[in-house]
């Protein structure tokens, strides 16, 4: 069984960027979050395609030269999941 992350379809995610920070607003949940550049990069990745956690980690390392340590990626994904921006999908 595989576990993927994907964007929740059917809702808009509004963004406002100031320098390295972006506020995002999910029109479905009504939640607002402040993300740094890395958070936005992860959101962009998941919005573009369905990915496993490890694939996201690899993309970030390859494109942004940032090694996401410990559970920092899991925490960010969980936060985006909680606010309804992305969702976890399990496939057989």
């Amino acid at each position: 069984m595989s576990e993927y992350w994907e964007a929740v379809a059917g809702f808009e995610v509004l963004r406002k960027t100031w320098g390295s920070e972006s506020a995002i607003y999910h029109t479905g949940s009504g939640d607002t979050q402040l993300l740094d550049e890395l958070g936005i990069a992860i959101l962009n990745l998941v919005q573009a395609q369905r990915l496993e956690t490890e694939e996201i980690r690899e993309h970030i390392l390859r494109k942004h030269k940032v090694e996401l340590e410990g559970d920092s990626l899991a925490r960010l994904l969980a936060e985006l999941n909680r606010s309804g921006v992305i969702t976890r999908v399990q496939t057989p």
């Binding site: 509004l14 406002k16 100031w18 320098g19 920070e21 506020a23 607002t32």
Partner: protein, 303 residues
């Protein structure tokens, strides 16, 4: 016609009978009470507010009165009525006047979604408005009072009303709600300032309301353009410091201190984003009145 053009006796008679129609900021309120302490303080603090001779359309029909049961006599309580409904629990009789102010705040914050409403003070000088969003106990109202006593125009103490159309700050100049130590701090600044009674043992501690300047009330139709959003923090005898805050962090702070950001949904996000774009964002720590006034004066003079 303003409230002080009625004698106290006339105002009391109206409040007890058909009620009094008065204007505060963009709202018209129809108010009715039999409670003497409310009448006394209302007459003192709202003396410059416009009133209406005739029945007019009112945004809110408010009444504060004693109940018709034993709590009228035994440990008496007062009830707040909006359109003859009771929206929240009664308070002890000795908190009747603060209940009027808090009740009006509740009415406006819960019903006026034609504005983005932020828990913030708003003041203006040199045609530049500053918005002071903050949690209770941060020193927001103390700073608002200090600036008002030093020539700034008060647009709001508790509820910043931001137009969804053009981001202007809409005046809602009402008495400033001071708590605990800040009551004596402000009383010591001016012998001429007018206060309500002091109400002890409220859930906010001791509370007193400071009458705002006549100019702030008479210019109630003049909106102001927000230029700065400043998160204030009073620390006793601390040296003042004004430090830039990232727009993103201020966005989150204002959103958390807004009454209806989430009610407004997408529009709330867009309006708040545009408001942040319009303003410089700062953290402000202060502990000395003169220093605080000087820094705020130079901010609106230089930028």
């Amino acid at each position: 016609m303003i409230l002080s053009s009625l004698t106290f006796h006339e105002a009391r008679t109206r409040l007890k009978s058909n009620g009094l129609y008065f204007k505060t900021g963009p709202f018209t309120i129809h108010f009715n009470t039999h409670i003497e302490n409310i009448t006394k303080n209302f007459y003192k603090l709202y003396s410059e507010n416009q009133i209406f001779e005739q029945e007019v359309f009112s945004d809110f029909h408010i009444k504060i009165d004693l109940p018709n049961n034993f709590r009228r006599w035994v440990r008496p309580q007062v009830f707040f009525y909006l359109d003859n409904e009771i929206p929240f629990k009664p308070l002890p009789f000795n908190q009747a006047y603060p209940m009027l102010e808090w009740g009006m705040n509740w009415c406006i914050a819960n019903h006026s979604h034609q504005y983005l409403i932020i828990h913030a003070a708003v003041l203006e000088k040199n045609n530049k408005a500053i918005i002071l969003p903050a949690e209770p106990g941060s020193g927001k109202s103390t700073l608002a009072a200090i600036l008002t006593l030093n020539g700034w125009r008060l647009l709001s103490d508790e509820l910043a009303l931001i137009s969804l159309k053009d981001l202007s700050a809409i005046p809602l100049s009402r008495p400033i709600n001071l708590k605990n130590d800040s009551i004596d701090i402000i009383k010591s600044m001016s012998e001429t300032c007018i206060f309500s009674d002091v109400y002890d043992d409220t859930n906010k501690g001791s509370v007193a309301l400071l009458k705002t300047s006549n100019e702030s009330v008479s210019r109630a139709d003049e909106v102001a353009i927000p230029c700065f959003i400043i998160k204030p923090k009073y620390i006793n005898e601390s040296k003042a410091s004004l430090a830039r805050v990232s727009p993103g962090k201020m966005f989150m702070h204002v959103a958390e201190n807004s009454f209806n950001y989430s009610v407004l949904g997408k529009e709330g996000f867009e309006v708040l984003s545009n408001l942040i774009d319009l303003c410089g964002c700062f953290d402000f720590i202060y502990g000395n009145n003169t220093e605080a006034v000087n820094i705020m004066n130079s901010l609106v003079a230089n930028n």
